[in-house]
Symmetry: C2
Subunit: 147 residues, 2 copies
Amino acid sequence: MNIDTLHEQRLSLLRTSGNKITDARKTILNVLEGLKGHPTSAQIVEAVRQHDQRIGRASVFRTLDLFCQLGILRPIYHEGGGARYVLMPDGHHHHVVCLNCHCTIEFEDCALDGLAHELETRLKVQLLGHLLEFYGYCEQCSLLPNK
Amino acid sequence: MNIDTLHEQRLSLLRTSGNKITDARKTILNVLEGLKGHPTSAQIVEAVRQHDQRIGRASVFRTLDLFCQLGILRPIYHEGGGARYVLMPDGHHHHVVCLNCHCTIEFEDCALDGLAHELETRLKVQLLGHLLEFYGYCEQCSLLPNK
DNA sequence: CTCTGTGCAAAGGATTTGCACTACG
DNA sequence: CGTAGTGCAAATCCTTTGCACAGAG
């Protein structure tokens, strides 16, 4: 799937869900698409500010909440002050978190579609995506004593 | 696996990792084991307070961080002020979150052990557990318009 | 034209920190 | 006994809220 297509899809999801497409929201979406990894809200606010001085802090938070509600974004929490956010490129995201140094390693995996379908039937829910997080110790940290 | 055994395992993990077993930590562990679902830090602080008036707020936060580092507990973030915590009974936890009403549905699943082993080999990491979160709309919310 | 979204500034909380004291091992 | 852990209270910082104005549809 093409990046621009994804971008367009997200914008049209905004529209079809009854929300408006504003400059602030477009800018924030662009910023999110440009940031790598799992940025904190503070990093996002900062990046948005650099992009467009006029966008207020509050709007960033409101927009992040909106994106989360639409399933475009997921909040995660990795110790240390504040939520972090992950864009869900194709509705899913997978990573390994180190409990010691808190680094994250992303990986691809698509073994969960079957389970997703089963759950939709069994629990009568409608799923948009998933977030899979393994935790443990990364290569370096697993070599330390006490681990 | 027996509940008491799990409790003992957690305590001995504290000891073997070079931490001390104190009254405060024992109380907080008991409280966590007694709470259902995905309590917020505020709920945990409150529950601890009811259990033992003398335990300070800061100690609760420090202990939660410690438990997270040991892999006993995982922080998650579900919109709406503050982290939530999930005990990892056997090192894993799975749930579905509704993006609209924010309810959660827990389910059992053990299809990830194979993937965990593969990742351990491929990424050279040492895994303790995992958290799998599906998101979408629950039965009631998926029937609403705009969904 | 109407109603949703925005920016600002201030309020409100939750979490963290520093320090003297306690108690685990 | 020594060091890790604790409780308290204050400081800090993130997030939310209220309101008048702007702009999308």
